[in-house]
């Protein structure tokens, strides 16, 4: 390097809002990444689980003696080995069961030298069942004489939630228009491309190391411990790369303690990994619900009240699914300015598979109802839906009935942006008129919006994240964060933030977040919180390190710290960018001096939100955000097929941090939401899954995806890192009602029960023809 170029001043630039690639992408694109599914440990045994394959039964007898005798089998466990080891949100679950409450209930488990031996052993286990009458809908579960699923949960009642604000009767009386509908949202599942997997190993001190796909490693210890009769402190959680999570790894599921119980019994590491069919049958679902919603407004289009009476199909056990009312009520009370709100939700045990959390967490279900009722009200008012939405849209500074304070609210701008970019109003009018005309193919346009927490959600005692940051003698930075990477890209966000603050190349940052013995506490990847919370944590830690470095530089150079900056691996003068000292040289000087100092800082970031609280009146997130989607579709009225032509999305993201990662989250979120709206459905017949494969459970493929037009609204959140808000759930939340509204625009038919499959749409259109024209002779 010649002297001239080394003297060149370094200009101030920023990475915020740029397109940054994921640091793990090269290994993932070359096949080097060792996912948990790929892991093999020396001496490792393979664990397999015998599922009940019936929805409700007593176990009369179980004989595992033949399986135990098979060469290569190391142990066989049954319900008696897990007796009393209750776990779960309400302690209603055990790893291995003495009674069957749903199809996938775990009855026995085998650890063997190979998968093939384990499979053979499974076939040698004989179980005699006495089948019991089952409960397969929450309505049936509520009946007086319904079969009881858990002895200690009378009337099959699981969780209950209620929120009341204002005088409902008075508000109804004051309403000139009321819409009143029942929406039934269905069972879907996550379909992570990497199937569920856990590897457990005990050391000689009795400490458990579990390699897990979990997305909440610290509470995971707390939740796993009772299933094993252990102290949470004796569990170390390792998090190798995972093939997707989407909320499915926010709880402990029986295969995980089973892996640990097998490992304990055999003294060997044990790996349990689901087949795809097992994954469909035995992993969590999105919470299904029956939502009876009423919304009222005055003739001039002002919302007067909203009420929701929700019945949840709890399934056989209580995971996170039945807790979704805490989010459902936030939408019921916060989706547009609603002065009077009543919300009531009851979860009822059934013999169906049970729900966990799934991207959108209750808001997907509620918004399907609220956003369609907004559309219905606008029609009854004979008002352009956009005008109706704008009239009732909250503004910055408003507080919802649940005391969510909307500091920076950009709903207005989201609505205007999406409507303008899609030419919504003109098309909506045009397609409404065209509906009455002849023609096989009908176009429709539909708009939907929602609100979601975007600065964490304080449903635990803490919503914080710990960060440890060290800078070594070569100016390489290691960030040890509690935040988990599940493919969503927090690695790239933290990478970008730290490089931004310390003025170093992106490649010089290493992130460590895969070992609970090393990384500090974090509540988990959920609630669209990680960029906000862990991003803030990383920034605060980096700023501390930066300050330490600049102070040291100031001492050595006698230039005031505030006149210095870090750019391109150098300490430079803030005003002109002139290089003062190479950063790594400075770091070595700091280290190897009479009073040595190392740069290593810690930070614990706890957002300024309030705990959810029993009365559900709190500012439970540090930020709230809105998204608006406009869906343009074409309906083939003969086959019922819906082609989605284009989605226009406008979302308040606060501020773009990593543009590429953000786009990826919005696009992926839309795809999951479209699957929910159009094609994905777990077809359950008396608790038994009929379509446990990708041929019959229809995840969208590339040719089915529409053109996407994404607009990011930057409201600059005061509390968020650089102004950013959380973003990843809203795209999944808003899309299904946008599709349903578009289908109504195209056909004049409302669909209350997703998914809008070709058959369902064709049938509805045909049924309407029959009532309009009378039964025709030909079919």
């Amino acid at each position: 390097m010649n002297r001239k170029s080394s003297d060149t001043p370094i200009e101030k630039t920023t990475l915020i809002g740029k397109r940054v690639r994921k640091p793990d992408a090269p290994d993932k694109a070359t096949g080097k990444t060792r996912y948990i599914n790929d892991m093999v440990l020396p001496q490792m045994l393979i664990g397999k689980i015998l599922h009940a394959g019936r929805p409700h039964a007593e176990i009369v007898s179980i004989d595992v003696s033949a399986a135990e005798k098979l060469p290569g089998v190391h142990c066989v466990l049954t319900g008696k080995d897990a007796e009393g080891l209750r776990f779960g949100f309400v302690r209603d679950n055990v790893a291995l069961k003495n009674r069957v409450r749903c199809e996938h209930d775990e009855i026995a488990a085998v650890a063997a030298e190979t998968e093939e031996i384990a499979d053979r052993a499974m076939a040698l286990i004989t179980v005699e069942y006495r089948d019991l009458p089952g409960v397969f809908t929450p309505e049936d579960g509520r009946e007086k004489d319904a079969p009881q699923i858990h002895d200690d949960f009378p009337d099959n009642k699981s969780l209950h939630f209620e929120f009341r604000h204002g005088d409902l009767a008075a508000a109804e009386a004051a309403s000139e228009i009321i819409v009143d509908n029942v929406f039934r949202v269905h069972h879907v599942t996550h379909c992570c491309m990497g199937t569920s997997c856990a590897i457990a190993d005990f050391d000689s001190n009795g400490k458990l190391t579990i390699w897990s796909q979990t997305q909440y490693p610290y509470n995971y210890k707390m939740d796993l411990a009772p299933a094993l009769g252990m102290h949470p402190g004796d569990i170390r959680v390792m998090q190798p790369p995972v093939g997707g999570a989407f909320g499915s790894k926010l709880d402990v599921y029986p295969y995980e303690p089973i892996a640990a119980l097998l490992a304990k019994k055999t003294g060997r590491p044990v790996k349990v990994m689901f087949s795809r069919e097992e994954e469909f049958r035995s992993s969590p679902t999105r919470q299904p619900a029956v939502i009876h919603m009423r919304t009222g407004c005055t003739r001039n289009g002002t919302l007067t009240f909203r009420s929701a009476d929700v019945l949840l199909d709890n399934g056989a056990y209580t995971s996170w699914g039945p807790t979704i009312p805490v989010v459902m009520m936030r939408t019921t009370t916060g989706h547009y300015r609603v002065p009077v709100v009543h919300f009531n939700a009851q979860a009822i045990y059934t013999n169906n598979p049970y729900a966990g959390s799934f991207r959108g967490y209750g808001n997907v279900q509620t918004t399907y109802a609220t956003a369609q009722q907004m559309d219905m009200l606008a029609e009854q008012l004979d008002m352009d839906p956009i005008d109706f939405h704008l009239k009732n849209a909250q503004q910055s500074g408003e507080t919802t009935p649940q005391q969510a304070f909307l500091r920076e609210c950009a709903l207005d701008e989201c609505l205007r942006t999406a409507a303008q970019a899609s030419d919504y109003s003109a098309k909506h009018r045009r397609y409404t008129l065209a509906r009455e005309q002849q023609g096989r193919y009908k176009k429709g346009i539909g708009l939907a919006s929602s609100i979601h927490n975007a600065g964490g959600a304080k449903i635990h005692k803490s919503d914080g994240c710990g960060t440890i940051l060290k800078v070594d003698d070569y100016a390489r930075v290691t960030v040890i964060t509690g935040a988990s990477e599940i493919g969503q890209g927090i690695d790239a966000v933290i990478n970008l933030i730290v490089a931004e603050e310390l003025g170093i190349p992106l490649e010089h940052v290493t992130i460590v977040n895969d070992d609970s013995d090393i990384a500090p506490w974090d509540v988990g990847v959920h609630a669209s919180r990680t960029t906000f919370i862990a991003g803030n944590g990383a920034r605060r830690a980096a700023v501390k390190a930066r300050q330490q470095i600049l102070n040291a530089a100031a001492r050595m150079t006698e230039i005031a710290a505030q006149d210095l900056d870090l750019r391109g691996g150098f300490v430079v003068r803030e005003d002109c960018g002139t290089k003062v000292i190479k950063l790594e040289k400075l770091l070595r000087r700091m280290h190897f001096q009479p009073e040595p100092e190392l740069v290593m800082v810690t930070d614990y970031y706890e957002p300024n939100s309030e705990p959810e609280g029993a009365d559900h009146r709190s500012d439970h997130s540090a930020a709230y955000s809105h998204a608006v989607h406009v869906a343009e579709i074409t309906v083939d009225t003969h086959t019922g097929e819906i082609r989605v032509d284009r989605i226009t999305s406008a979302q308040d993201v606060g501020r773009v941090i990593n543009r590429m990662g953000l786009e990826g989250q919005i696009e992926g979120g839309i795809a999951i939401g479209l699957g929910y709206a159009l094609s994905e459905e777990m077809q359950l017949e008396k608790g038994m899954l009929k379509n446990p494969c990708f041929r019959d459970y229809k995840v969208l493929t590339a040719p089915e995806m529409p053109e996407l037009d994404l607009h990011f609204i930057e409201s600059n959140c005061a509390e968020g890192p650089y102004g950013a808000k959380g973003a990843s759930e809203l795209p999944t939340i808003v899309i299904a009602p946008a599709i349903a509204n578009a289908v109504y625009n195209a056909t004049g038919i409302r669909f209350f029960n997703p998914p809008l499959t070709p058959e369902k749409v064709a049938r509805a259109i045909w049924d309407r023809q029959q009532t309009e024209t009378g039964p025709s002779a030909d079919r």
Binding site: K28, A29, G31, T33, D38, H190, T701, A702, P703
Partner: protein
């Protein structure tokens, strides 16, 4: 009843004891440790296990290992030459097509056949070429962008 066979993978010939019903996927992963070929469903429904045989993309979970004797198999590990990534690998990284990454290798292998036969594919050709590869993370947009980028970079 295992038999000794020799198969050529990524230009290297391997002698292996294989049972007639063993899938190529099983042999790649369990016998050779080539874990870049992923097991997503093992029933030809997801595309994670896509490899190329004689230049054509196939699901290795449905391919009998015995049947590939004498037919060159290429896996994701075999398309990086002298440390130089395949243009598709580079494009997937640069375009943000990788999130969880579990589908990535299989999708690259499917796209590879497309670019070999259609160097400048249009959007619809790209989407149909990867229609047998499921992705749950990206909504496919960045994958399509990556394949376009790779085509442009190879031109």
């Amino acid at each position: 009843m295992k038999q000794l066979i020799s198969i050529e993978i990524n230009g290297e010939v391997h002698e292996l004891a294989v049972a007639p019903q063993d899938s190529l996927l099983h042999v790649l992963r369990e016998e050779l440790g080539l874990i870049g070929t992923k097991k997503g469903c093992d029933t030809g429904g997801c595309g994670c296990c896509t490899v190329q045989i004689d230049g054509r993309a196939v699901y290795s979970c449905m391919t009998y290992a015995m049947s590939v004797q004498g037919k060159p198999v290429v896996t994701i590990e075999g398309i990086t030459e002298n440390g130089q990534l395949d243009p598709l690998q580079q494009a997937f990284i640069d375009a943000g097509a990788v999130q969880c990454g579990y589908c990535t290798c299989g999708t690259i292998m499917a796209a590879r056949e497309l670019l070999a036969t259609v160097p400048d594919p249009d959007e619809s050709q790209i989407r149909h070429a990867i229609a047998g590869n499921l992705c749950r993370c990206t909504g496919y947009q960045k994958i399509v962008d990556a394949i376009k980028l790779a085509a442009a970079n190879s031109a």
